[in-house]
Symmetry: C2
Subunit: 398 residues, 2 copies
């Protein structure tokens, strides 16, 4: 405690006390297969470690997951019965409609009601099984109930397993703005079960690899080489090729959060948001018909073209990145990029972060370069370039 008697003001001495308040959280990320098979102890172990007897839980399941896995609710219940010393399931699972729309309405209030009805306390846990949107809405409810109960995420999509489900954010949309309400909250555990990925549509499958490409471009050139080499096998849905990429992407994202020095993003530098200004705007302009992962792929393709256009990145590297995205069967552009409103996304991105405009760009593959200004004409040329890329037959663009 630093106590200071400061300079007098109006014959009144000011008294000032300053103190750092340090909070240490623990983040657990686990990749497994068949997480709810009774003989897989991973989930029970993650809850048991507290040494305080069984943890009370309630469960939220994404409707898309519930459809693909109709016995999931019963599997979870059977798992809890089998591991009764670690887990006590308090209520039947709540099914929440998947997709971005779950973040627009009052669905998170249903999760709050579940938490209240199940009498969960700050030592209980909400278990959320689903894609990024359901994890965001359920995670928000868990973060504000009782000033934060424990959250266990089971991300079920490529994009939530390799990025969003790993992070320390939650949120819902309000005032027509994405993630206007939310908190920074460290989950108790994130358990990625690769079996959930098998039932994704091809489109949802591919979408998640854009975030792996992004983090590779910013942090790890060798990892980009690895994705490039694995891209055809990933596109063919080879799990053996895909899982190391998903795991490494998740690890790099978590590593950035834990060791990057700013887990709760107090500064305006957001290196992990490369390609995201256009992605957020495109999601919004398409009324979320374009998924987050796809939009990020397009945002990366666009910002890479912009970097080449302003001479920051050499054009061979730009082409390599575009080819890698295409080989992953990610779209490189969208007709809505032609909208005059696209560039509004730059100011909206600045406003959400606050302070000066700060965008991560690339100078080489693996090297981030921060800019504070965007040349709108160069960006319009970059839009034209990526629209051409998608129009060209894939073979030729190599």
């Amino acid at each position: 405690m630093i106590e200071m008697a400061m300079a007098p003001s109006n014959q009144q001495t000011n008294f000032s006390f300053e103190h750092p308040v340090t909070v240490e959280f623990r983040h657990r990320l686990l990749f497994t297969r068949g997480a709810f098979r009774p003989d897989n102890a991973a989930f029970a172990d993650a809850m048991r470690e507290r040494g305080m007897g069984a943890t009370s839980i309630a469960v939220v399941i994404d409707s898309g997951v519930a459809e693909a896995w109709p016995n999931l609710g019963e599997s979870v219940a059977a798992y809890c019965r089998h591991h009764a010393e670690a887990l006590e399931l308090r209520m039947a699972p709540l099914i929440l409609a998947g997709g971005e729309r779950v973040k627009n309405g009052q669905d998170y209030e249903e999760v709050l009601r579940l938490i209240n009805d199940a009498k969960l306390c700050r030592h209980s846990a909400l278990v959320a099984i689903g894609g990024g949107a359901v994890l965001d809405a359920a995670g928000y409810a868990a973060a504000i109930a009782h000033r934060g109960i424990r959250l266990v995420r089971f991300p079920t999509t490529t994009v939530s397993q390799d990025d969003s489900g790993v992070g320390v954010k939650n949120g819902i949309n309000a005032f027509g703005k994405k993630n206007y309400l939310g908190t920074f909250s460290v989950p108790h555990a994130v358990i990625c079960d690769e079996e959930f990925l098998a039932t994704l549509s091809d489109r949802d499958w591919s979408a998640g690899f854009s975030e792996a490409v992004k983090v590779a471009l910013l942090k790890d050139p060798d990892f980009f080489n690895q994705i490039e080499a694995a891209a055809p096998a990933i596109a063919a849905r080879n799990m053996g090729a895909a899982m190391p990429i998903i795991r490494r992407s998740a690890e790099l994202h978590l590593n950035h959060i834990a060791t990057g020095g700013d887990p709760f993003e107090f500064t305006t530098v957001r290196p992990l948001d490369f390609g995201h200004w256009a992605a957020h705007k495109l999601e919004q302009l398409s009324d979320f018909e374009v998924s987050h992962g796809e939009a990020v792929g397009i945002g990366i393709a666009l910002d890479v073209a912009y970097c080449a256009e302003i001479g920051l990145l050499d054009s061979d590297s730009a082409s390599r990145i575009h080819r890698c995205l295409a080989a992953l069967k990610l779209p490189l552009s969208h007709s809505l990029l032609k909208s005059e409103r696209l560039l509004e996304g730059i100011e909206e991105f600045r406003e959400h972060l606050g302070g000066e405009l700060t965008l991560s760009m690339l100078s080489t593959i693996g090297s981030e370069h921060v800019i504070h200004e965007v040349d709108h004409n160069a960006m319009r040329r970059a839009v034209a370039n990526v629209l051409n890329l998608d129009a060209a037959p894939k073979g030729l663009s190599r």
Copy 2:
């Protein structure tokens, strides 16, 4: 990053990544007088230190404060004009009805609307001027908008200056439960202006000293002696006697948060909640007619009587504490203590904290003693004892 390849499960190796996520916040607490006089630089200095130009702000004022200080809105605006290099006031202040009711409804949504209309970002600040309830509701809105914008609190009551306004919590009521929704959030700054205390009713004035007595009993026997000696002058509203007590109470509360090792209350030990199980229940049973500060005074009187009843605390110390509370013009009991529902408050308190029942009690003045069980019959006798204390003429009970 600890990476482990774990024991195989279903021929599947689990991959596990664990990492501590450490977040460092900075808490600033300042006592001053005439905070909005143009020549008092304290507020502007607290905002300027970022070295990023003027901070955009919006202001929420407690209706009780706005009535007592009809020119306050204009003073704040003039202050911002005078310190334009540090502060940019974006909108006219929002007046929120004071008192616990502000935490029951949708008032926090009005604050969210203000934050959105004022286009505040994560580097802007919401300035909340008022008693604990308004600070709680406005602080909650600030904590969830944009995943947390800066909050500057100006607590205007004794109880908010010496305890609640200093802390790292916010909250609103939901499902009929106090503080069901909220977060742990460290304020950017807390500025206590003693001039606001001059217009409090005698009842509100006295109410806040219960929290000073509480923290003294738990942490600092010398401070208890000091309160005991100052009590008659405090009751006579002598500011020179009162301010050192309020400042020391605030300092002890902040010190506990910053150095107690558990600022966000992950464990079930809550030493600062001495006397609070009965206080929360009494507030609820009286439909908040009994204020938080008064209820805490009664809760302390009751738990002190209980400690004496079970032989934990000697009866001379118990009497001293009761006399000190009475000298501060705090009530020692309330007819609602006779309600059969009072003891439900013990289980409700446990549920809110979670895990095993954990209550702080006293073994001597200045020494906390944790218990995990309450003898209901002894507690009923303690209720009878404090009801008798209040019935007795004050002079005689010495």
